[in-house]
Structures are given as structure tokens and as C-alpha cells.
């Protein structure tokens, strides 16, 4: 199975709504990265590893803060690949990297695809790379069978939605509202209609993110799409020293901790 198909299969095979967990690499401390990653991969259906960036314009205060802390600890894309390479355990879920474009550009797309394939990364999410500009990166990732997940939002016109859905790989990322990451989930009346439209347009599984913090959100969104993405809330759990796996299992309704 090619890496992008592993992502798709993992979302589709989840019992109930899939949960994609996000952590910023090296936050709150680089020493914990592989341990946290293993725990999250055990409890989630897929994992997004945030590559810290100096100017994260789509992120809210929580992810922004975690990014800054990680950079202060010297975390970089090179460091993440080196850590993934030295791990001595199998990841229980497919892993994607979430990165702004400039670190990927600086790394070089061919080398990026090769390193990702070597270290078990299945795909990429690049929030500041709209479809129109994605050609060169997509070509390099496609050649290695890696996913490039496209994002859609409530402001995305229907025709564009169909195009983005057709171009995505792994899954389609439905942003639940406008704004940056981290704020609470507002539940506009149009949310169900929007998610239904995204689902109808997408040949791939759809995961919805931005603002998912609790079990009720998972249940609400899970009625319409295939999974949820949990970012800022999980970053806060890691920051507080609590058990990320227990939090994620709680979101999935597999324990009573949430």
C-alpha cells in the first residue's frame, strides 16, 4: 500500500469517527517527542506532526506558542526526520507533517520526498500552499506516493470545492470555520450543510478540524464526515503534562475521562 493510501485506509477503517491528533514536534520538550508521538499514534487514527515555523499565519495562540518553544529548543525539519529515523518502535497510525511552505522549500522538494519516504512519513499538510501554487511540491510527493492534503473552508465556492476534493490525497481537510486554529468550535447553523456538501464532493474521506476540543464536538461532526482533527486542545494537554492517549481515547468515547 502506498503511503497516501495508508492514510486513507486508516481514516476509513476507524470505528466511529476517526481522530487525527496534532502535536508540534519538540513541544513542550524535544526529549518527549518520540514518547508523545508513540502515545498519540496508539490512540489516534492518524497523526499530524507540526513542523515549527517562525511566522505561522494560520495558527492561533496555542500552536503559535508551541511552535516558538520548539524553535527555541532547536527543532527543525531535519531534526524531526532524524528523530523519526532513530525511533525503535512501529508507529501504530500513519503520520503526516503539517508545515508552512518555506521550511519545505528550504529543504528542497526532491530531498523532502525522499526523507519522508525513508522515515515513514505518509504525507503533508501545508496551510499556506493553495492548490494553485502546489504543482512543484505535489509532483515531488506524488512520485513517492506521498499525500498532499488539500484544505477547504466554508468560504470555498462549490466549484472550487469539487476541484480541491479531486486534487487532494490521503483525506480532505474541512476547516470548520474561518479564523485561526485554537478558538472554540462555534456551531453555525450552516455547519451541517457545509460538511454535507464537502462530503458529497469528496471521493476521499473527509476530516474536519479547527476548534475540536471535546467528545460532543466529535459526535456532532462525526455525523457528517469521516473524522476530526484535534490540534490546539491536544497541544494544551501535552503542555499540561496530562496523558495524550487518555485524552484522545476519551474523545473517541472509549473511556469516561472526558
Amino acid at each position: 500500500m502506498r503511503p497516501h493510501e495508508r492514510v486513507k485506509a486508516a481514516i476509513e477503517q476507524s470505528e466511529g469517527p476517526a481522530v487525527v491528533g496534532f502535536l508540534t514536534a519538540g513541544h513542550p520538550h524535544p526529549d518527549r517527542f518520540l514518547r508523545d508521538l508513540a502515545a498519540i499514534a496508539e490512540a489516534a487514527d492518524a497523526v499530524e506532526i507540526g513542523v515549527p515555523f517562525s511566522d505561522p499565519m494560520a495558527d492561533g495562540v496555542t500552536v503559535q506558542r508551541s511552535s516558538r518553544v520548539a524553535i527555541e529548543h532547536g527543532v527543525s525539519l531535519r531534526w524531526i526526520f532524524a528523530e523519526l529515523e532513530r525511533r525503535d518502535f512501529e508507529l501504530a497510525a500513519p503520520v503526516l507533517l503539517m508545515s508552512y511552505l518555506n521550511p519545505l522549500l528550504a529543504f528542497g522538494y526532491e530531498r523532502l520526498a525522499a526523507r519522508a519516504a525513508e522515515t515513514g512519513v505518509c504525507g503533508f499538510i501545508v496551510p499556506d500552499l493553495p492548490f494553485e501554487e502546489s504543482g512543484p511540491l505535489k509532483a515531488a510527493l506524488d512520485a513517492a506516493g506521498l499525500a498532499l492534503v488539500q484544505l477547504v473552508t466554508p468560504a470555498t465556492p462549490r466549484e472550487r470545492l469539487r476541484r480541491l476534493a479531486a486534487e487532494s490525497s490521503g483525506f480532505l481537510y474541512a476547516v470548520t470555520r474561518t479564523g485561526t486554529t485554537g478558538a472554540g468550535l462555534s456551531v453555525p447553523a450552516e455547519l451541517a450543510e457545509y460538511l454535507a456538501a464537502v462530503k458529497a464532493a469528496s471521493p476521499l474521506p473527509v476530516c474536519a478540524g479547527f476548534g475540536v476540543r471535546e467528545r460532543a464536538h466529535v459526535e456532532l461532526i462525526g455525523r457528517h464526515v469521516d473524522g476530526v482533527i484535534v490540534g490546539s486542545a491536544l497541544v494544551e494537554v501535552l503542555e499540561s503534562g496530562a496523558d495524550p492517549a487518555a485524552f484522545l481515547r476519551g474523545l473517541k468515547g472509549r473511556s469516561a475521562t472526558v
Binding site: F53, S54, D55, P56, M57, A58, G60, V61, Q64, R68, I71, S76, L77, R78, Y100, L101, N102, P103, L104, L105, A106, F107, P127, D128, L129, P130, E132, E133, Q150, L151, V152, T153, A155, T156, P157, R160, L164, V175, T178, G179, T180
Partner: protein
């Protein structure tokens, strides 16, 4: 014809940016999907409303009656005598609110209003764009929020007071490097939160397409006027100098001269206190291509792709990126980009004060420093220097440096 000449011709003939917002390899739209609808709507607005007779007539009237255009060109004989050159100054410091920024601010404020925006967000480094935005918003009757790094809030205090008095809310930014770049990050985040009702009034020729084009179109009035004034008063200059941070003043001054192949165009970047990363803001002289704030252009970043902190004595030049049109002009060799250090800029500022009775902005002092150096290598040349703004707002910074005479005494 080689590829670079073809690109330059396309730019001069108005075929760039192309439909994808590209100036050759540079430019484009690197924004979150959340902003694509807003950027697309703005693009449509620029294509239709900005060029409409009604908006052009309103803009022309505001530039004449409110901004005070045309701004003069001033002969600078005393500077000319010192430099061994014929020196002319394009006086954007005499525009309303004291800098070229007002041309862009009033143009975008009128466009925002025509697009139905309910509020405006802006960012500012030196404060000039913040003041211009606050004034323009007051003029058209839209609420205005200005993001400003807390480092800049401290070093440009008079402008913070002016913005507040003009009715703007000034939000100090405590994240990132706490200067212009962090302020842009924060303004974009605000815009992302309400892309339908909020208009982002960007202050330089940067950002996702169509901003670099829009800002250039609004600032090109500087060069159009200057070119006509030079022909009327003397003749075309042999060289034109402008400071370059994000590059809106420079692109505005240069654009009308691009087709005058005999006119040398020189952009002067902030050489700061040295050549190490973090000691300057010389993006075109020392940077490499990358993506920041929505476009692909020349940037200062490290081997991991992280944007580097910059330094300049001038807050308005303290930015790690530059507009994509400048990146193209460097690529095709139409504009020379050089640097002037903090010390050279401070010396040029003092010299301009002493010789001509004009206190230029620290940004503009970089252009003067570059022109002075060029004049020494080209005796008798006719030069045009863009004075992008006045230096009143720099008084808190200048207070840290002794005036020229005391400095020379100390050096003696």
C-alpha cells in the same frame, strides 16, 4: 532577446503581474484557503472598481485636495556642491501625514469602501503607514485597527499617539520579533478571522496577489510626477535612488522610469550594523527566494527555512522580505540594489538637515547615503533621490545619537 529582457519588456508593457499574480518567477498567492475567497474578491475589485472612472475620479480628487499632490521636486544645490553632482529631491515628506504611505492608504481605503468592508486592519513598522491608514479611514469613515510590534510602539511613540488621535485602535503585538513582521502576522490573523467584513490595508508592495500590483499602482504616482517634473525643470536624471524595505516607495518612484533604459535605478537597502544575518535588513543584497506573507520573493531566512530577525536603525526598513516586483527587477538587472549602513544613513540625515534644511526620515536617509556614494564615483551626474518621508517621527531614535557637530567633535 534573452529571457530577462523579455520579462522586463512584459513588465514595462503592463503584462506583469500575470493572471496568477506572478512577476516572472516571483509573486503569486501563498495564503491559507480561508483567505482565498477574500483575495479573489479583492482581485476582482482591483480589476474592475479600481480602474472605474468613478473611483479614479475620487482618488484623483483626494490626492489633490487632501493629500496635497503633486508633491514638489526640490533642487538641492548645497548637497550637490558637497557631492559634486546635480541633486534633486522628490518630496513625499511634504505629502499629508508626512510620507508616501498616504497615497496607498487613501487609495485602498476608497477601494475597501467600494468593496463594502465594515472595518479595516493595518500593520505598521515605523508608524507612517499606521498614521496614513488611520487618517485615510477617518477620511472615508471606516473603523481602523492598527497592529504594531511593541518594539516599534516604543521607538515610534509620537506616531502611536497620532494614530490614536486619528481614531484608530493601536494593538501592540507581543509575539514573534515584536516588529513589523510580527505586526503583519497579526494583521493577517485578524483578517483570517473575518475575511468577508474586514479589509486588510497592507502597507507595502508585498503580500499575496493582487497587493503588490495594487500598491504599486497607487504609488506609481510618485514616479509619474517626478519624471514629468524632472523633464520640465531640467532633464531626465542619470540615476534615481530610493530606499527599499518592503519597497513601496521605491517601486512607486522607479516604475515610471523602467522604460528609460539610460536612467540608472538604484534601490538602497538597510545595511544595519554589519553583514551577519540578524544585523541588517538587506533582503535583495543578501537573501534568497522563499515564501513569506503570501508571496514568493527574496527573503532572509536560515537553513531550516525559518525567517530571520532583522535589524535597521530605521523601523520602516526592518523587514526580512521585499516586494516581488523588486525581486524581478533585480533578477533582470534593471535596478541595482545596494546597502547603506545605520551609520551612513545617520550621517546622510545630518548632512541633509545641515545643507538643505530638510529633516528626512531615517528610511529616506538610506537613499541619500546611496546617492552620495554613487555621486562620488560619477562626478557631475544629475541625480534624483526619493525622500519617502519626513524625519519628525524618528526623533525618539535620533535622540540616542549626538548631532553631527557633536559627533565630529567627539571623533576629532
Amino acid at each position: 532577446m534573452n529571457e530577462n529582457e523579455a520579462l522586463l519588456d512584459a513588465l514595462i508593457e503592463g503584462r506583469l503581474p500575470d493572471d496568477a499574480g506572478r512577476f516572472g518567477p516571483f509573486g503569486g498567492r501563498y495564503v491559507p484557503e480561508t483567505l482565498m475567497a477574500a483575495v479573489t474578491r479583492l482581485d476582482e475589485g482591483v480589476r474592475t472598481l479600481l480602474r472605474s472612472a468613478e473611483l479614479q475620479a475620487r482618488l484623483e480628487a483626494e490626492l489633490r485636495d487632501w493629500v496635497g499632490r503633486p508633491t514638489p521636486i526640490t533642487p538641492a544645490p548645497a548637497l550637490g556642491a558637497r557631492w559634486g553632482a546635480e541633486v534633486w529631491l522628490k518630496r513625499e515628506d511634504l505629502a499629508h501625514t508626512g510620507a508616501h504611505k498616504i497615497n496607498n492608504a487613501i487609495g485602498q481605503a476608497l477601494l475597501a469602501q467600494a468593496l463594502g468592508a465594515r472595518r479595516i486592519v493595518a500593520e505598521t513598522g515605523a508608524g507612517q503607514h499606521g498614521v496614513a491608514s488611520a487618517a485615510a479611514c477617518a477620511r472615508v469613515g471606516l473603523p481602523c485597527t492598527v497592529y504594531m510590534g511593541e518594539v516599534d510602539v516604543a521607538r515610534q511613540a509620537p506616531n502611536v499617539d497620532r494614530m490614536r488621535r486619528l481614531g484608530a485602535e493601536v494593538v501592540p503585538v507581543t509575539s514573534g520579533d515584536r516588529t513589523l513582521r510580527a505586526a503583519i502576522d497579526e494583521a493577517i490573523r485578524d483578517w483570517v478571522s473575518d475575511p468577508a467584513g474586514t479589509y486588510y490595508l497592507i502597507g507595502s508592495a508585498i503580500g499575496p496577489h493582487p497587493y503588490p500590483y495594487l500598491v504599486r499602482e497607487l504609488q506609481a504616482v510618485i514616479g509619474r510626477e517626478a519624471r514629468a517634473q524632472m523633464i520640465e525643470r531640467a532633464a531626465l536624471p542619470e540615476a534615481v535612488f530610493a530606499c527599499v524595505g518592503g519597497g513601496s516607495n521605491a517601486i512607486g518612484l522607479f516604475h515610471a522610469f523602467l522604460g528609460d533604459r539610460d536612467v540608472r535605478l538604484v534601490g538602497v537597502e538597510a545595511g544595519g550594523r554589519g553583514s551577519g544575518l540578524g544585523d541588517h535588513s538587506a533582503t535583495l543584497s543578501a537573501g534568497r527566494p522563499g515564501v513569506l506573507h503570501g508571496n514568493y520573493s527574496m527573503l532572509l531566512y536560515d537553513d531550516d527555512g525559518l525567517i530571520h530577525e532583522t535589524h535597521s536603525v530605521s523601523a520602516g526598513l526592518d523587514y526580512p522580505g521585499v516586494g516581488p516586483e523588486h525581486a524581478l527587477l533585480k533578477l533582470v538587472g534593471r535596478v541595482d540594489y545596494v546597502t547603506a549602513s545605520d551609520d551612513e544613513a545617520l550621517a546622510a540625515l545630518d548632512e541633509c538637515c545641515e545643507a538643505e534644511g530638510i529633516l528626512p526620515a531615517l528610511e529616506s536617509a538610506h537613499a541619500l547615503a546611496g546617492a552620495r556614494r554613487w555621486a562620488q564615483a560619477h562626478p557631475g551626474a544629475r541625480l534624483l533621490v526619493g525622500l519617502s518621508g519626513r524625519g519628525d517621527k524618528d526623533m525618539p531614535i535620533l535622540a540616542q545619537y549626538p548631532v553631527r557637530k557633536e559627533r565630529s567633535d567627539a571623533a576629532a
